[in-house]
Amino acid sequence: PTTHYKITLHRSAISLGSRIKSTLESLGIHRRFQTVYHRHTPEAAGKILKVKELVQVENVTTDMVKTKQEMTKDRKAKRGYTVTGER
């Protein structure tokens, strides 16, 4: 049972007006290709439909929801070594 929207901005809102830009701000999206998670609510649905030409949406379950720190950690490249001790 999916509980969240996974919203990714693919097209910018440059020169689309303050209403669309405010909608993206209220969704918490600041730049292209940023991903944000929102619960299934009528408010979130209305905001998505306001900017439907700019975003891509996926329905995900609660365990797939990631915080900003978790998404940053996933993007990071793994070190080619592990630290076992000092000196």
Binding site: T2, Y5, R11, A13, S15, L16, H40, T41, P42, A44, A45, G46, I48, L49, K50, K52, E53, L54, V55, Q56, V57, E58, N59
Partner: protein, 105 residues
């Protein structure tokens, strides 16, 4: 060199605004692809099960496969012969929704 104004011979004025009257095959394909992406967004919101007025309005829009080619690549205009112009002449046409035209045109 790129953009709406292209340099032409200085003798004939220097600047010429050349925009093709119809879309090329590539542009049409990209337009269809964008329509399908918007359909996918509306479908995702519908599948989530929430109810809102914006969704009711969005579901009334025709889907890409339901649209006639006329509506995908041209829009109504009262000023031209045939009452149609290319959709690429609409500002921000790649980022706005324009699927329906007045009935009969």
């Amino acid at each position: 060199m790129f953009g709406p104004f292209r340099a032409s011979h200085v003798n004939s004025g220097g600047l010429l605004w050349k925009i093709p009257w119809k879309l090329s095959t590539t542009r049409k394909a990209n337009a269809r692809h964008r329509l399908k992406k918007v359909d996918a967004v509306i479908e995702a919101v519908r599948a989530s099960g929430v109810q809102c007025a914006a969704l009711d309005i969005a579901l009334e829009l025709p889907k890409e496969h339901e649209m006639p080619a006329r509506d995908k690549y041209t829009v109504f205009t009262p000023h031209a012969r045939g009452y149609r112009k290319g959709i690429h002449k609409v500002p921000k046409w790649t980022r706005i929704t324009h699927r329906t035209n007045p009935k009969g045109f």
